[in-house]
Structures are given as structure tokens and as C-alpha cells.
Amino acid sequence: MSTDRELHLDENQLLWAVVEEAELPLPLREHLSACPQCSANKEMIEQDLVRMGQMAERFSPSPRRRVSLPVKKARRSIQWSWGWRACIGAAAAVALILVITWWSPTTRTTHRDNANMLALEMQEAEQLMTEVGRLVENALPYMYSDISTESNATSDEEFMQFVIPSIEDEILSYDLENGGVLLC
């Protein structure tokens, strides 16, 4: 009796027997097939596992529709559609990269900088042209404008004309002396 008890499968061996009986050494397999207690213990675990599998199957729904297979010609069209899909995907990726590059902060800053620089240059050029125009009209610096005759040139011109008449006026005076018609 004691010998039988020693030969009984321990839990570890019992579990290996459930996993795969062939894993057990031959004497243990022989014992398992002969010993009703050990085989009952093993079967108890196995039965519970089988019950679980059967119940899972029983408590699951059945597929409502059958798998539909493509027709033979469709195999090629599937490949084509994948090809098109890949092309569209690649095109979308390229477009995305372009958009990202275009709208990236670095690019946007560069564009803005360029526009700003252009506006600045135009402003500077305009200022320069204004300065040149001003110099053409009056080359003297502003501080000398008060003592310069340029500023009241118009009124002085009439006066100077009165004091020193021009050659044309002289001719008119001459004609007047010679009994000509007074024009003014």
C-alpha cells in the first residue's frame, strides 16, 4: 500500500500529464494507466477544461453571414486597387510634406523676413529719392536757409527787375523814345 502511495503522481506530474502525457517517464505513464485514483484526478482536470471549451462554444453566437470570396478576376483588381491605394497614399504623403515644409515656422519666418526686407529697402530708396529731390531744389543745409536769398527769391526778382531792367525792357524803352507804341 505504502509503495502504491509513493508511486502516485504528485501535482506537478499530474499537471504534466494533462499538458502532454508523453512528457512523463514510462513508469509514471504505466502507473497512470493502471491507477484509478491518478487517472481520475487527471480526468477531473481534463473534464473541467473540456467543459469550459464546450461552454464557450455553446455560449458564443454563430456567424450571421458567410465569408465572401473575390472572383478570380478580382484578385488582379485587388492588386491594382492596392497599387492605386499606395499611389494615392504616396501622393498624400508628398502633399503633406510640402504643406508642412511650406507652413513650418522656419519657412514662414524666412518669407516674412524677405517681405520685410523688401519693404525696408523700398522705404530707404524712397527716402533717398526724397533727399536727392530736396538737394536738387536747395543744396544748402537748413541752417543756412535764413541767410540765403533762395528762400525769398520770387519777391526779390521783381525788385531786381525794377532796379536793373533786362535787355528786353531796354529795347521797349528805346522804342518808346523813338515814338513807338507803349506796350505796357
Binding site: V50, M52, P63, L69
Partner: protein
Amino acid sequence: MPKMTQKQYHARVSDSGSQVAAVVERARAGSRTAFEQLVDLFQGDIFRMAYYRTRSSMDAEDLTQEIFMQAFKNLDRLRMPERFRGWLFKIALNRIRDFNRKKKFRALFGALDDNDKVAQPYAERRDRAEALDKLMIQDFWKQVGLFLDKLSRMEREVFMLRFMDHLSIKEISQAMGKSESTVKTHLYRSIEKFKKEHSMRQFLQEATA
């Protein structure tokens, strides 16, 4: 419910392995009918697999469609027709993983309703509750969910593939891209945890009594 041992349960699937390989051969040769046969054979399994992992029959249906489409397109790449089942489940695992990843990503931005995961399955099962006890169904999925949450990602996947999707260790190894010894180790750990789930095991026994 008829009592069936684990061996008998898995034998049901593996017996048809050679027949499946023959159908796969014909499908690879260009037979549309053969591929439709494969759909008939595995649509239920793949749908349930997706359902167990998404808990939504609509998502499971969409995923099933995508999985078979992918299989249909890549059938030429399958070298060994006898490994079709594992190969198909591998596609399914990847597609479901992608789906769940996207779902988590969408949930990050609040695009997903919180009730989507919990409320929807129960609502969908409402129709079936006329025949089956609604409370039992809810309790079952709750118990399963609680248990699966206690497992690591690998243990959970191995456990579900083995006992819910009924794949062999070889098929699990193929589907997960792991060695058989790794699969067995994770399976051992998950069964060890299952054995300690007394309330769940009691529920299973009472429900099928």
C-alpha cells in the same frame, strides 16, 4: 452535455487533418470550390476565436472575413498543406492582435465607448438567452474573464488556443511561432492556475451536471 475526454475532443479535429490537406492541395491548384470547402470547415472556428478575443460578434465577423481573404491571397505561400489549420490560426492571431492594438489606440483618444467591451456581448447574446439561461451565460463569461485576467499574455494565449480553440500543441507552436517546449511550459503554468480556480471549476461542474 455528453462527456468527452480531452483526447477524444482533439482527435475529432486531428482525424480530419489528412482530408483537409487534400482540400488545401486542390485550393492551391486554383479550385475555388475547394477553398469554399475550407471556409465551410473553418469559418466557425475562426469566428469563435475572434469572438473570444473581441467579445463582439460584429468585430468577429469582420475579422473572419479579413482572415479568410488574407488566407485566400497567400495560399500559394503555404508549403505544407497539412499545416493549414495552424497557418490559418497564425493569420488570425496576427489580425486579432492588430485589431486589438488599433482598438487600444482609439481608446486612448476617447473614440471608443467604455461600454463597448462589456455591454455589447451581453446585448448580442440576449437573443440566445431565450434558450439558454441568461444569468448562466453572463456568469460563465465573467468567470472566464476573471480567470484569464490572472494569466500572463503568453499563458492566456496558449491556454485559449488549446482549450477554447482546440489546437494541438504543434499547431499552437506553429501559430505562435514559439517552440513546443515553450508552449508546454506556458500551458503547464496556465493549467496550474486553472486547477486552483475552485469556484470556476465548481461552476463548470454544476452547469453541466
